[in-house]
Subunit: 296 residues, 4 copies
């Protein structure tokens, strides 16, 4: 058996081994995993996850709130004290919440307290689907919602968190539905051919400015060798692609080199569906371009 | 006679009056104006200017260099001391060269000295056709040229400066060739109609960042009421238009309001032909757009 | 007074002269013109026409049907016998209905009879807004409607017919709302410039095939000297523009001359709003193009 | 061993078997195959074909002309008499040359005679890369060439013919370079999604009109299930794709159903590179569209 078991192995292993493998998929709630052990075998990881989530949804409200209470506050005391589970640490860590300046920490504390006070459980969100900006927008929106909606929202977010954890623990999990992807393509519309050797940069935009997160160079097919983002949910947020087409046209001996009309082409766009494929291509001449959201 | 004479009036007025009106078109060189007074009448202001410039071009090198020496250095001592002609003050002033931080002043001084030392006359450029960035690029390029080329370049720049001064002094000068223009148009390609009420901002880009220089809102024809830039040469440089299409689509009840794919669309472009019409339109849907340089 | 009076002249001329000028604007119904003579002066031709149409709309049904009965059947006995009014002859003539082959005449006779039998008045349509194909489509659709709708439709069509007749009789009528226009523009997107000397053909499409109705060649602005269609309502129908871009690119020494990717670019489109401006431009490279309906 | 041997099997089989399998790859010239039998093993089918063609190119002119003479005239006596090899019959048959009307047959006879008379060998062309129109254009052009060029051209065409025959006889031949492909994609640019269920027709254009050769319907990815053309060289010629977007938009409850601006969108294009991938996508709204040649 490999370090990460396959679905087949999980279906056949002893109960204890199963619980040892997957007991921490739901934060501080190994009983959720335990509730599905006798439902094995599962036909897919998605089916196993659905069964787990059904156990959560079947809880009476009091017990559900207790489950929610087991989750650490975002950028909260546990995060700062380093007492979160390894999974939570990794998930929250991507936003570097623990490195926020002090006044922003105070803002988070206020938000967390307000949410806990209003609803009686902590604010839960699947951080891996978010940028800092979109977490803050969601927090503000959800703080204004009513308790019934927030109970539903919290379970939905727990479902997203646990689905990602489950996928991380199983070899060949087959859950394509959790993967988002950002790809691009550059077409030289004056030549009717892909544009090779075009440098492409990807930035995440926030109120603090632009933050580079990926880059690539187009190959003979006009594509980057790898997707610009791949392998996990994308993060809800605003982004900017920058295509260095001026260099490309200059390499072809084209364009007014003194002051070309187009040099670095920015495409600013939002990602709102983290589990989708965003194909954002560029069709270009030295004097014109077009782009669109495609999905293939 | 109005404050600004027409060509017809200039053609018919006494010699002295003509010289009084146009004597300062060439910096510290009223004799250039004097050299054409007896060639009147001129069929056009352009013809009058061509005659003046022909007098300059006919000079032996020694006298030409003396004429060039009459021009103030860019951001030089005269500029800082406030002893430039009114025209030069106005022209240089647009770039706010006198407000540059001290270390940049030192850079200018070094450039001016190096140029004067190498060629024996000051660096002359028609500032009104330039941004700070493009002046610096030109300065670097021309500093590397040879003396013969620079004598030609200096006369060409003097021609551009004097042409603008001449136009400013004559009512209905008819010299459309000195006017550049930047216009835009927004088409809602999903509706087949102009997009009204779209806010459009224009920024000048420099190493220091973005500087807002114009803005407008599209009308029922998808155009701004006025060109974004008009009435004089444009400035060689890099610019960015920003179209607030997210607001437009939201006003139509469209788009994923949580996180739209397109919100503020940036179009970054260079202007290299200051006396041209740049029409930079946007054709847009919530998921796609195209732009191009048009010229009508 | 000129052959065609102006609105001002019509407002001031004697009653008899007014009736003589405009008495036949409504087919066989000079009383309609008479009903507005004492409402003069009118502030616009549109206001005069609205007053006339109000008189028609005020008729009790019996009298309205009598008015409708005064209109000749489309391609009917009067058309073939040459006994229609000059206006009707001219209007119906544009579709060359009298030259239809015999079996189609029989079809028209059947349609006319069926309509007259069902509704008690002839089928009335403003022919100048239609192609043969769209008249037939309208006929089929309206034959299936109910009598109340058709009374409304007939008055609306009479309003359109009379508005065009009124405009034809008045100098400077100022009714821009009756004029449609088809224009185009060709942009060379690989050069960022209008494409000159491109031949453009316009065809009307029908079940019988393509029928050339206009053509032009682009000038230095990428436009044809005249709109392809202008000066009256367009005709509801389907059209095809053909842009001879292969010749253009060959003249620039471009493209695979043996077998270019693009040679004659067809744009097939429908006109459904006869009183609108259809701007149908082409942005093109040897390998790509785009078009859209604009309205300026 | 399967009916069609693999390269590995061909490399290892007895000489006689090899000759039996591939002896007719060059028309009436089994010796060409024989000339390479002892060069086995070949690392690829392409290498084997190159070796065969090298034998042809090494021929003295007299023997080369004899080889060329073994090829049947296009639409010539052998074709009509049914005495061509099975391969030639299949290849020529695709253009239905034997079904041409009599006066065109006379034209072919005249062309064949003129070519034979001028050069001393028959006109040879790889018919599978051509439409009737492009064969005639090539014939006219090559008839005007000189003998040296035509000897080179004839060998090149024989190389193309034999390469296709070789590929047809070998399992997993791996010669991707002989395959052309035509694909399309429809993007709904107003929705940012592929447009499903759009009917697409492909026509071959000739002087005689349009001839339907393929059709498909887009799936959820905006693509047809199969390429519109695939699996062999494309045919040099002019084509028209027709996209039934009016039906698509109507199915979404959109567009002016009476007379939509866009209904059936024609894209007319030429194919000049039979062994290439032509990707000809459509990006569309009810009021605008764009297309380009892509290659992926």
């Amino acid at each position: 058996m490999s370090a990460r078991p396959t679905l087949e192995e999980l279906n056949q292993m002893p109960r204890d081994a199963f619980l040892a493998q997957l007991g921490d998929v739901f934060e501080h709630a190994p009983w959720v995993t335990g509730s599905v052990v006798d439902q094995r075998p599962f036909s897919s990881v998605a089916a196993m996850h659905a069964a787990m989530l059904a156990s959560v949804r079947a809880l009476p409200e009091e017990k559900l709130v207790a489950l929610l209470a087991g989750h650490p506050a975002l950028a909260g005391a546990a995060a700062r004290a380093g007492t979160m589970t390894a999974d939570s640490t990794r998930e929250q860590g991507a936003l570097a919440l623990e490195k926020l300046p002090e006044e922003q920490m105070a803002h988070w504390d206020a938000l967390n307290s307000a949410y806990q006070a209003k609803f009686g459980f902590p604010f839960i969100i699947c951080v891996r689907r978010h940028t800092l900006a979109s977490v803050l927008r969601s927090f503000a929106r959800r703080l204004a919602a009513d308790r019934a909606s927030e109970l539903v929202a919290a379970v939905e977010e727990i479902g997203r968190v646990s689905r990602l954890r489950l996928a991380a623990r199983i070899e060949n999990h087959g859950m394509d539905e959790i993967v988002g992807r950002l790809t691009t393509h550059v077409l030289d519309a004056a030549r009717g051919k892909p544009a090779p050797a075009v440098r492409v940069e990807l930035f995440e935009k926030s109120t603090a400015g632009m933050h580079p997160i990926a880059q690539g160079v187009t190959n003979g097919d006009g594509r980057t060798a790898e997707p610009l983002l791949d392998g996990m949910p994308l993060r809800i947020g605003t982004y900017e692609l920058r295509f260095h087409v001026g260099d490309y046209f200059r390499s072809l001996g084209e364009g007014d080199t003194e002051m070309p009309f187009l040099d670095v082409v920015p495409i600013a766009f939002g990602i709102g569906e983290p589990e989708s494929h965003y194909h954002v291509p560029l069709s270009i001449t030295p004097w014109a371009y077009s782009t669109y959201r495609g999905s293939y």
